[in-house]
């Protein structure tokens, strides 16, 4: 018997029991839709995080020295110069934490960091007015600062004005161009000082650095070289920490990978339950149609014909369920993502895997009932009431 005939027969029998077929498919529909939605949402989530890291600066490496033998700014400078093929710039990064900024009357708190003249290149800072911190500013520990557009606007200060940072007077020598919407806690809500000044006022040692790696492909290798150097310089790998956007992205990707595996696993359980539902219904259907099977056998249906009839019915049921699931999943992914503030995309891989799995479930769980139908003895089947 031809495949097309079997397909038509299967569709007929599925349509003859619409409600039952739909309920049978429901497990598959939910499972497939869940796989597609979850993969889409996790993908959107991971894109979100990756792009926010990229904004941090994908090609910078942050170093934090916590203890061990002292490593001076000169040491880092020497190291960066020696490995010029990896590192094109470096800056100390002395954080004052949240400092209070005041003009005459208004005040706000923001993150203040002490850097050298190369930070302009490293953080790709563009100035709307004035100049950036220069070498001499650092050498002479000048009380000068470069402020973000948000600070300038909020405190109504301009170039040449004087502001107070934690009580100390600073002259505004540069104003950063607005880059990040000009809102609080954005890249426009920053203050840069010469690192020497920051270190002295905070009575702190320089312990954080930022290094620029122009070639993104070399960033992992550069991290390794830096790490080797610091192990020697500080005495132990526990004395410092290296953080790069790349490494963080890798960690996040690993995390979201695990997350999606877990979620897809849960959805897979739903698919399994759906498959068992199909098996159950197929067994009921074989029992119900025992007499029909007997009639078909008496007029010449072979085992193979009966087998394919029931197997195709199971496959068509689960594949139809799979297609409905894909439709539901694809339809819900984007709006659900929007609801969660993510840009979820329907992944073609997830769609094809989900469809393949659902058809496979039909084969696996339909096989046993179909075999049972095919093996029925024609006489017993004909006598069945």
């Amino acid at each position: 018997m031809k495949l097309l005939q079997s397909l038509i027969m299967a569709l007929k029998s599925i349509l003859a029991n619409k409600l039952r077929s739909f309920l049978t498919m429901l497990g598959i529909i939910i499972g497939v839709a869940a796989v597609i939605i979850l993969v889409g949402l996790v993908g959107g989530f991971s894109n979100n995080i990756t792009s926010s890291f990229a904004r941090l600066g994908a090609n910078t490496i942050n170093v934090m020295i916590m203890r061990g033998k002292t490593v001076t700014v000169k040491d880092i400078e020497g190291f960066a110069l020696e490995h010029g093929e990896f590192f094109s710039a470096y800056t100390p990064n002395v954080s004052m934490g949240n400092a209070t900024i005041k003009n005459r009357t208004d005040s706000l708190t923001t993150n203040v960091s002490g850097v050298n003249e190369l930070a302009e290149q490293i953080d790709s800072i563009e100035l709307a007015a004035g100049r950036f911190i220069c070498y001499l500013d650092c050498e002479s520990q000048r009380r000068v600062c470069v402020i973000g557009s948000y600070i300038a606007k909020e405190l109504a200060v301009g170039l040449g004005d004087s502001i107070r940072i934690n009580g100390y007077h600073f002259d505004v020598i540069g104003i950063k161009e607005q880059k990040d919407g000009g809102t609080a806690s954005s890249a426009d809500d920053v203050v840069y000082l010469p690192y020497t000044t920051t270190a002295r006022l905070g009575r702190s040692q320089v312990s954080n650095y930022k290094l620029l790696v122009e070639d993104l492909n070399k960033i992992n290798e550069a991290s390794d070289i830096l790490s080797d150097y610091l192990v020697e310089a500080t005495g132990s790998e526990n004395n410092f920490r290296i953080i790069s956007a790349q490494a963080m992205t890798d960690t996040v990707n690993e995390l979201t990978g695990t997350l999606s595996l877990v979620l897809v696993g849960i959805a897979g359980i739903s698919l399994l339950v759906g498959g068992i539902g199909i098996m159950n219904i197929m067994i009921v259907s074989v029992t119900e149609r025992t007499r029909e099977i007997g009639i078909r056998k008496s007029i010449g249906a072979k085992q193979r014909d009966i087998m394919s009839q029931f197997l195709i019915e199971a496959i068509v049921t689960s594949a139809l369920g799979g297609m409905l699931g894909i439709a539901v999943g694809a339809g819900l992914s984007v709006p659900l993502g929007k609801l969660m503030g993510l840009t979820a995309a329907v992944s073609p891989t997830a769609v094809s895997i989900a469809f393949g799995v659902s058809a496979g479930i039909g084969i696996i769980f339909g096989y046993f009932p179909a075999l049972r139908a095919a093996r029925l003895n024609p006489i017993d089947a004909l006598r069945y009431e």
């Binding site: 005939q5 003859a16 078909r296 010449g300 249906a301 072979k302 085992q303 193979r304």
Partner: protein, 230 residues
């Protein structure tokens, strides 16, 4: 055509064995019309099921059309049922959700006949039993006699050599039953070998030969003189 050599069918029921067929030897020529009669439980259906390759003998040999079919594989038996044999059952045994035409096409479907030819041959077969106007009806929308004619059309559609009818009139009134027997006699005249089971003597005597079973044994065989008078 049909050759039974000392055929036994034994059902083991716990401690004791039921001899449904107890050493039956029967020879049916091509073109014959044989009726099998006997009391209820005498083994008529068992005999018919073995003739129809639906069941296997426990012992003995069954030769159909020159071929020993006692122990063939289920696929080969299906093939023989499909091409050489046509069944007519007491309960019609039509598939309820298929319409008349689809029911009659079914044996051809399993032969892999193309859809156009299937349609043509099924229509022809249905015309033969005078049901050309009911092609799209479901079996449940037909009378018992009409359903039995559909099942005869289905038995005819693959042009089988042998038509086996197990109490085809059992569920019909005597007038309709006689119509069915007339149809079978016509088919016999056209060359089909026919085996008919019935317990109505007045129908059985319309065959060319009558075989009487009792407790799984053939107890009487007689050739009808009047058979030519049809």
């Amino acid at each position: 055509m049909i050759d039974f050599c000392d055929v036994y069918k034994i059902y083991q029921m716990g401690d004791y064995a039921v001899h449904a067929l107890d050493g039956v030897s029967l020879h049916i020529e091509e073109g014959e019309f044989v009726s099998i009669v006997g009391a209820s439980g005498s083994g008529k259906s068992t005999c018919m099921n073995i003739i129809g390759c639906l069941d296997e003998p426990s012992y003995g040999q069954y030769i159909l059309n020159g071929r020993d079919v006692s122990h063939l594989s289920s696929n080969e038996l299906a093939n023989i049922r499909n091409r050489m044999l046509g069944f007519v059952f007491q309960q019609y045994n039509l598939i309820a959700k298929l319409n008349v035409l689809e029911n009659v096409e079914l044996p051809l479907l399993y032969q892999g006949v193309s859809s156009a030819e299937r349609h043509a041959r099924a229509c022809e077969s249905l015309a033969r039993v005078d049901l050309s106007d009911k092609l799209k009806n479901l079996p449940s929308q037909l009378s018992g006699g009409q359903q039995q004619r559909v099942s005869i059309a289905r038995a005819l559609v693959s042009q089988p050599k042998v038509i086996l009818a197990d109490e085809p009139t059992g569920a019909l009134d005597s007038k309709t039953g006689q119509d069915v027997i007339n149809l079978l006699r016509q088919l016999n005249q056209e060359g089909h070998t026919i085996v008919l089971i019935t317990h109505e003597e007045n129908l059985a005597v319309q065959a060319k030969r009558m075989v009487r079973l009792s407790d799984g044994k053939i107890v009487e065989q007689c050739v009808m003189e009047n058979s030519a008078s049809f």
